[in-house]
Structures are given as structure tokens and as C-alpha cells.
């Protein structure tokens, strides 16, 4: 008979004894009690058990449980928890800004990754002088000299292709890495001011030729996508080229070009100078050979991006870029040092990317750790 009473019935019995049943449930249960003697018996025994428990005497406390000032200690974690929470929240917001802020500010992120060539005022002035000198130049219009455009990071610009370097002393504000993009010779002279504009025409090289070059130009990047799976080879080629031995000379009969790390930048612009005519088939060089008197790059030199690292003196910068043989005959040791410093040539895109990634990872780590610490402190405070 006891098996007929299930756990639900015992819960009803217990609730009924504590007077916690509703009026309707209570009436139904009392009807069942009248009809079921077994249920009534169980109710009686549970009631006696409950009565025994309620008759248990109160235990007298053995002592007073006063809390003393020595027993209680301040809980600094209660104050630290919100601080860590705020730190986590701020780090999260900054992380979101770093991740999405660039997208908002520069929707054309692909273009934004490439530093647009800018023309400092000094560069424009020097180019005006170049234009004036080109007007007096005996060179035929078909002969184009390498034109120079400064990268976005230029702080001060020497005027490397001015015949008289003493009359056009550059103003060097601070020692800064300088990128000079030397444009290839052009068949038609153009307005000197146009050299300030990034090349917009399609490169004459095909993409196959472009990727076969040891130093692909920046302009070609716009037109020739990176072949899949060749990025590592491309990077290796850059690295190997940067540290390679001289393989190129501006003219077959002349010595190597001094202390210039070069990257080609094809362009249609021209910058007339008084320097000799260019050779038809230039071979690139990018390292300096000690012991050989450095000579200025000849006209018609291949497209070059010259990275100069001024050491804080105008002389060194002028020495590197001036076509004056006297100025160009600088110390080979110093030139070699310049060459060594100029080894990591090229825009610091990867550095910026790594810096951005480092900031993102740091913010993420701070946000997570501070959040976890805040949660732990709050749990411990409970």
C-alpha cells in the first residue's frame, strides 16, 4: 500500500502540514485523506517527525561572538574590482577603435597602405630650379634625366640634381630617413611640377617582367597583383637584393653608384639636368664598393628610389646626392656606413602593420586580463 504514495504525495503532505497549500489544493488533498487511510497514516508519521524536530531544544551559545577590530580586516579588493573593470572596458574600447577606426577614417585601405608621395615646399622650390636649369640645358628634349620625388616621410629635402650644389644648399631639419624615388628617363620632357604627381600611366613593363625584376617598383604594384604563393619569394628577393653584392652600374664603363639603396619607380616625368646623356641599357647597382671613387649617377640611370639617411649634417646628405664629383668623393667608410644604414630600404608598411598588430594584441590582453581580475575580485568579495 505504501508504494501507492509517491514523492509528489509526500511533498503534498509536507506542504499541507506547513499550511502552504492553496485553498483549492488543500480541499482536494483533504478529500484524498478521507478516502485513503494509508495516506492518512503517512501524514500522521510525517507530522510526528516534524513535531520532534520542532521540539528540539535551543542550544545555548557557548560565548558571545563579538566581532573585534582585529578580527575584521579591510578588503581592498572591493575597491580594486571596479578599477580593473574600468581598465578592461577602456582597453576594449581602444581595441575597437584601433581595429575599426582605420576602416572608418580611410575606407580605401588598400591605397592608404601605400604612402602617397608628397611634395614639401622645399621640393617644389628645388624643382623650380631644376626647371630653370633645364631651360638652359643643352640636352635635347628627348634626353630625360632621372626625376626625383620625395616620399611621404621626407622632413627636409636636399636637391640632389642641381648642378651647383653650393648654391642650393638643402635645409635639413632633423636626421630622418629619406626616401627618394628616382624616375626613369622619359622620352618627352614634361612640366617639372608634374613630377610631384604619382605616376598614373600604365607601366611599360608587363607583369611578368615586373615580377621577374629583383626590385619591383611601387608603381607596378598598382597594376601587377602579387602572384599567389610568391610573396615569400618576393620578400626573399628583396632581402637578398638589399644585401647583395654590386651587380649594376649606371654605365658600362663607370664605377658603381655611391651609397644609394635603390628601388625602381618608372615614370614618364623628366627632370632636365646638365649631367651627361643617359645610357640606353642601364644595369642597376645598389651597393658601394670601398676603394672606388664614387661618382654621381649618370643621366639615364635606371629608375631608382634613393634612401638617404642624413646623419644630421647637410654635408653628408649633399655628398650622397650631389652629382659634384668632389662632393661625391666622400669617405668610402662613411659611405659604407650609410649604405649599411640604408639597407632596410622601402616604406615601413610592414613595420606599421606590426606596430598596429602589437597594439591590438596588447589591448586585447589588457582587456581580458583586467576583466578576469575584476571578476575574480568580485567573486572573492562575496
Amino acid at each position: 500500500m505504501k508504494n501507492q504514495i509517491n514523492s509528489r504525495d509526500y511533498e503534498l503532505i509536507s506542504t499541507y502540514l506547513d499550511n502552504q497549500l492553496g485553498s483549492k489544493e488543500r480541499a482536494i488533498f483533504e478529500e484524498r485523506l478521507k478516502a485513503d487511510p494509508e495516506l492518512r497514516n503517512e501524514l500522521h508519521e510525517i507530522s510526528k517527525t516534524r513535531l520532534m524536530l520542532r521540539r528540539l531544544p535551543r542550544q545555548r551559545v557557548p560565548r558571545n561572538y563579538y566581532v573585534t577590530a582585529q578580527a575584521v580586516r579591510p578588503r581592498p579588493t572591493l575597491k580594486l574590482a571596479p578599477i580593473f573593470g574600468i581598465v578592461s572596458a577602456v582597453a576594449s574600447v581602444l581595441l575597437a577603435l584601433v581595429i575599426f577606426g582605420g576602416t572608418i577614417l580611410s575606407p580605401t585601405s588598400e591605397v592608404a597602405m601605400v604612402p602617397a608621395p608628397s611634395i614639401p615646399t622645399e621640393t617644389v622650390a628645388s624643382q623650380q630650379e631644376i626647371a630653370r636649369s633645364s631651360a638652359a640645358s643643352p640636352l635635347p628634349p628627348t634626353e630625360a634625366a632621372p626625376s626625383i620625388i620625395m616620399g611621404a616621410q621626407i622632413q627636409a629635402t636636399p636637391t640632389p640634381f642641381i648642378p651647383d650644389a653650393t648654391t642650393t644648399q638643402p635645409e635639413i631639419a632633423t636626421p630622418t630617413t629619406i626616401y627618394i624615388y628616382v624616375y626613369p628617363p622619359s622620352a618627352t620632357p614634361v612640366n617639372p611640377f608634374s613630377i610631384a604627381i604619382a605616376p598614373t600611366e600604365t607601366p611599360t613593363l608587363s607583369c611578368d617582367e615586373y615580377w621577374s625584376k629583383p626590385l619591383p617598383s611601387s608603381a607596378d604594384i598598382y597594376h601587377c597583383p602579387t602572384p599567389t604563393g610568391t610573396l615569400s619569394k618576393y620578400l626573399e628577393s628583396i632581402l637578398s637584393t638589399s644585401t647583395s653584392t654590386p651587380t649594376y652600374s649606371p654605365t658600362p664603363d663607370e664605377s658603381p653608384t655611391p651609397t644609394l639603396t635603390t628601388t625602381p619607380w618608372p615614370t614618364e616625368t623628366a627632370s632636365p639636368t646638365e649631367t651627361p646623356a643617359p645610357t640606353a641599357t642601364p644595369a642597376p647597382t645598389d651597393t658601394f664598393t670601398p676603394g672606388v671613387t664614387p661618382v654621381p649617377p649618370a643621366l639615364g640611370a635606371p629608375p631608382q628610389a634613393q634612401k638617404l639617411i642624413p646623419s644630421g649634417s647637410e654635408e653628408s646628405a649633399t655628398e650622397i646626392t650631389s652629382p659634384n664629383p668632389l662632393l661625391g668623393a666622400g669617405s668610402p667608410t662613411q659611405a659604407a656606413q650609410d649604405q649599411t644604414q640604408a639597407a632596410p630600404a622601402g616604406p615601413n608598411f610592414s613595420f606599421l602593420s606590426y606596430l598596429l598588430l602589437t597594439v591590438e594584441i596588447s589591448l586585447a590582453v589588457i582587456a581580458v586580463l583586467a576583466g578576469i581580475t575584476a571578476i575574480i575580485l568580485r567573486i572573492r568579495a562575496r
Partner: protein, 192 residues
């Protein structure tokens, strides 16, 4: 007084201690079944209550205190399970443990009725100790401390329905356990 204690007034809190220490100690004693451990649990509960007065959101201060002491008892019981102690029950002639702790009472100094009452209390405590911790906390709060369902639910931190279920099952187990001590039970409450 509670607000003053929350502001850091230790004297106000100690007045609360005096008002509730009997309740807290009895809860600890019925939960643990040992005076010394109940004493420690009670003291720790009051210290913890003072340190966490900031988390008291109002409502029943008694239920809040009982929740703290119940958690302290859980900690003590878990510690006991990790480091089991040697039982104090004596062995009978056959080497079996005498389960009833009534041997600790000297019957020579007490009248027979008092001895029987003490034995009954010990039997009830013995059955309480055999209950699962969750069942024991519910039945002690409702049947020993006299809390209603809602207060017990607030103290334990469970819904009222859970309290009903645990209470019914705890009473049923106690009924079965106490039926083994029928000779100790008064005639009025003797279980069949």
C-alpha cells in the same frame, strides 16, 4: 542599526551579533552536529557578515545571516570530508561501533527522563547528520529554526519549489531514520 553597521560602526554590528548569535549558532550546530565546529563556524560567519555588509541588499537580515552561516557550515563539512576524523563512538563487545552517542552522557547524575530526552536529541541529530547537506539545511531552517518557505528559499538561494521538495524528502528520510530509535521516542510521537 544595520545601516550603522554598514557604515562601519562595529558597536552597532555587535548589537546585531547579540540579537542573532543564538539563531546562527543553532543553525551551525544542527548543520554540523558538533559544538566546537559550530562555534568556529558561527564566529567565522559573523566576521564574514561584517566584511560583506556592503552586499546586503535589504530584505530579511535573518535570512541573509543564515545564508552566510550555512555556507560556512558547508565549508566545514567539505573540510571534514577531505580530512575525516576518527569517530568517538565506542566499540561494543563484538567490536562494532555504538552509533548512539548517548554514552557521553553520565546517566548517574541525571534523572531517567532527562537521560531519555538527551538520547532522543542525540538520535535526532544523528539522523540529521545522515541527511544530504542540502536536505539538512532546508529541514533545519524550516523545522528547527521556524523559517517559512520564502525565508528558507532566500537563505539557501533556491526557489520555493526546491525548498518544498527538499523538505518533503528530508522529512521522509528522518521518519525512516527515527523509526530505528522507536524506544527512545515519547509515546505521543512514537513512530510505527
Amino acid at each position: 542599526m544595520i545601516q550603522a553597521a554598514r557604515d562601519g560602526d562595529l558597536d552597532s554590528f555587535n548589537r546585531l551579533v547579540l540579537a542573532y548569535q543564538d539563531l546562527v549558532y543553532n543553525q551551525a550546530y544542527r548543520m554540523i552536529g558538533e559544538e566546537e565546529s559550530a562555534d568556529d563556524a558561527t564566529q567565522n560567519a559573523f566576521i564574514s557578515a561584517y566584511n560583506h555588509l556592503g552586499s546586503f541588499r535589504g530584505g530579511s537580515f535573518k535570512a541573509w545571516l543564515l545564508r552566510i552561516v550555512t555556507n560556512a557550515c558547508y565549508d566545514e563539512l567539505r573540510r571534514r570530508k577531505r580530512r575525516p576524523t576518527i569517530p568517538l563512538e565506542p566499540l561494543d563487545d563484538s567490536g562494532e561501533e555504538v552509533e548512539s552517542p548517548s554514552w557521553m552522557v553520565d546517566p548517574a547524575d541525571r534523572p531517567e527522563e532527562q537521560v531519555q530526552r538527551v538520547e532522543l536529541q542525540n538520535a535526532i541529530q544523528h539522523c540529521l547528520d545522515k541527511l544530504p547537506d542540502d536536505f539538512r539545511s532546508a529541514v533545519v531552517m524550516v523545522d528547527v529554526q521556524g523559517l517559512d518557505y520564502s525565508e528558507a528559499a532566500e537563505s539557501i538561494g533556491t526557489p520555493v519549489g526546491t525548498i518544498k521538495s527538499r523538505l518533503a524528502r528530508a522529512r521522509l528520510r528522518l521518519r525512516d531514520c527515527l523509526s530505528g530509535f522507536a524506544e527512545l521516542l515519547p509515546s505521543g510521537v512514537r513512530l510505527e
